[in-house]
């Protein structure tokens, strides 16, 4: 057992190191918050602290650019994308991790391949697809939620992550379930799903963040503000002569809040390991 004073010093050092690097980690965030409370003149002069807290920036940012609508749009879009991703990725990861079937390895590589092409090159063909779907489908795709959500409802990243976790589930569990008369589907949704809480929440969070920050694609598939997300609103604070930093930062802080809340909720679930109560030995 390490002796008490050793432990104390190393703990203290660890904390000191972490605090220092943590300060570096937080610096831009702090700057963002401080800038959001400055006047435009103060941002132009690059002062470090505002003379007075300009709460008005937030009110102005919210009301100026229809922020409320964009915020709501982003929430709906993110919810749909996260929901779809969780479901489809869970369903897809399970066979890749826990079942043996022909074509398992190649299909996994094909899925991964979708990650390997830069977005610059995929935007145009995806738009053509969505545009064609808009013409042939009974419900609209462009300027509406389908174009903004459906293309993102499956992600190789999520499938891969879940697959890694599922591979770690012991085979005995399935055998036990089978003895109880459960097939793959029941096993997946009743046993595997609860065990995958941590990765599922991780997937949910990263998918949410990705959807929340998207700018290029939404601008491409919408022409009206009706379904535009929050990233577009932030963009509108940038004009040719220069950005209105104080408002842009206020908008950015507002945009970051839901992500922070979500992360706070998610990381509570990262506990000290799960208890495999169904498994003996």
């Amino acid at each position: 057992m390490p002796n008490g004073s050793d432990r104390g010093i190393s703990q203290w050092l660890t904390y000191a190191g972490l605090t220092l690097t943590g300060a570096a980690a937080a610096l831009p965030f702090v700057w963002m918050m401080l800038s959001s409370f400055m006047t435009r003149g103060e941002t132009l002069r690059r002062v470090f602290l505002p003379a007075a807290v300009q709460w008005g920036n937030y009110i102005e940012a919210w009301s100026e650019e229809d922020f409320g609508l964009y915020f709501e749009n982003s929430l709906w879009i993110a919810l749909l994308v996260v929901g779809g991703t969780l479901l489809f990725s869970l369903m897809a990861a399970y066979p890749l991790a826990c079942m043996e079937f022909r074509g398992r390895e190649p299909i996994f590589v094909v899925i991964l391949a979708t990650l390997m092409i830069p977005e610059t090159v995929t935007m145009v063909p995806n738009f053509l697809t969505v545009s064609w779907l808009h013409q042939v489908s009974p419900f609209p795709w462009l300027n509406s939620w389908p174009a903004l959500t459906i293309p993102f409802m499956a992600s190789a990243f999520s499938i891969f992550l879940l697959r890694q976790f599922m591979r770690g589930i012991p085979g005995e569990l399935f055998d036990a379930a089978r003895i109880d008369g459960a097939g793959h589907l029941r096993f997946l949704f009743q046993i595997v799903l609860p065990l995958c809480r941590a990765p599922l929440l991780t997937v949910a969070m990263f998918t949410f963040i990705g959807s929340w920050n998207a700018l290029g694609w939404p601008l491409l598939v919408t022409n009206t503000p009706a379904w535009r997300p929050i990233a577009v609103a932030l963009q509108k604070f940038v004009s040719e002569a220069g950005p209105e930093v104080h408002l842009q930062m206020a908008g950015a802080v507002i945009a970051t809040i839901p992500v922070l809340i979500l992360y706070g909720l998610v990381q509570k679930e990262f506990t000290e390991g799960i208890s495999m109560s169904g498994l003996k030995g």
């Binding site: 700057w31 079937f101 899925i111 891969f160 890694q164 770690g168 963040i209 990381q267 799960i274």
Partner: protein
């Protein structure tokens, strides 16, 4: 591993929704990009050039064939190595190795001479970038995750703190980093650097390589040219730092999820057996987290080769082309030169490169992953 043969139908049924979406929005674009790359294509399709763009990018086809032949010979020699018992096979193995190596190198030199230098530069920069970010990011995240999981008591606060770089909007992080690393004498980086008595650096606007700067700092102004090309520039180093800073929290979160999925009794058992923290880490945590580590490494490799946003925003004219990774080159080809055909060819080349890397990684590392079975 669950072994039941009648599962093929169920498996494909479960895979189908994801495959449909990925097929339409992930695979079709690759095919489309390949189609575009066979043409002269600005905004609309113009004439067919076949593999002309590829030849322009990679050089005369004969040299590419040379390189492939050389690599094939090397692979062949590797196969022989395991059976190199008799003197005869040993000699053949060495011969194949030598010939394969020479042919491959000659092929590569030929490609470099006849291909697009910007593409080769881009791959070089991308390689530096990957080698600079991945190890630091993954190792750092592992240490951080372990600390935040097992060692500390004030965990929640620090967990959020280290995730902030990833969720803070890029507009904010980029401005702050550009200010820190600006060439102004008063910038944070320069003030920090002056503590060591060194002169002002241009940081993000410095296109000279780090060894070159060291040599010049020591007063040596004449040095072989390769020192300027075979190393990353200071600007690239700053960009690497920026990206490590952004993504380390991202990797940490994934590792934390991995750690929290480890059944508790493994840790408890190890502690009861009297294992130290280090032993617990090495023999319990590391193997059990290896699936997640494999995931992060693979995703990091794919991600760094494709990386764009956090690099593009740090680009300055002063850095010349020393931070132009492959995706930046592709972006320029589309938005500055409006040559979608050539850009698509470059994207496909990048795609094949990443694919090959992933397959190799899968073979090499995949076997060492412990799935707790």
């Amino acid at each position: 591993m669950i072994r039941h043969r009648s599962d093929t139908l169920t498996a494909w049924a479960l895979l189908s929704p994801a495959l449909l979406v990925l097929g339409v929005f992930g695979i079709f674009p690759i095919g489309y990009a390949f189609y575009v790359s066979l043409h002269r294509w600005r905004i609309k399709k113009e004439s067919v050039v076949g593999f002309g763009h590829y030849a322009k990018a990679l050089g005369e086809p004969v040299w590419l064939l040379c390189l492939v032949a050389g690599l094939a010979l090397l692979l062949l020699s590797r196969q022989l190595r395991s059976r190199a018992t008799s003197a005869g096979t040993r000699a053949t193995f060495l011969a194949l190795l030598a010939v394969g190596g020479l042919v491959a190198v000659r092929g590569f030199i030929g490609m470099y001479e006849t291909g697009d230098l910007r593409l080769f530069n881009a791959f070089k920069v991308t390689l530096f970038y990957a080698m600079g970010t991945i190890p630091c990011e993954v190792a750092g995240a592992l240490v951080l995750a372990y600390l935040l999981f097992r060692i500390l008591t004030v965990r929640g606060f620090f967990r959020i703190l280290y995730f902030l770089p990833y969720i803070t909007p890029m507009i904010a992080t980029a401005v702050v980093f550009r200010t820190i690393f600006s060439p102004n004498p008063g910038s944070l980086a320069n003030r920090f650097w002056s503590i060591f008595g060194s002169s002002n650096q241009r940081w993000l606007q410095e296109s000279r390589t780090v060894p070159a700067l060291l040599l010049q700092g020591m007063g040596i102004d004449v040095y072989p040219e390769w020192i300027d090309t075979v190393f990353p520039s200071l600007a690239l180093l700053c960009v690497i730092l920026y990206n490590i800073w952004v993504y380390i929290g991202y990797d940490t979160v994934i590792l934390l999820a991995g750690l929290s999925a480890i059944p508790r009794h493994y840790f408890e058992a190890a502690a009861i057996d009297g294992a130290s923290q280090w032993q617990q880490f090495r023999h319990v945590t590391l193997p059990l987290i290896s699936p997640t580590l494999f995931f992060i490494t693979l995703v990091a490799v794919i991600g760094t080769f494709k990386a764009f946003n956090h690099i593009y925003i740090m680009r300055t004219a002063g850095a010349q082309d020393s931070v132009d990774v492959a995706s930046v080159l592709i972006f320029d080809q589309i938005y500055q030169y409006h040559t979608a055909g050539y850009a698509s060819a470059l994207a496909l080349i990048l795609f094949v490169a990443i694919l090959m890397l992933t397959v190799v990684q899968n073979r090499l590392l995949g076997r060492r992953v412990f799935y707790g079975d």
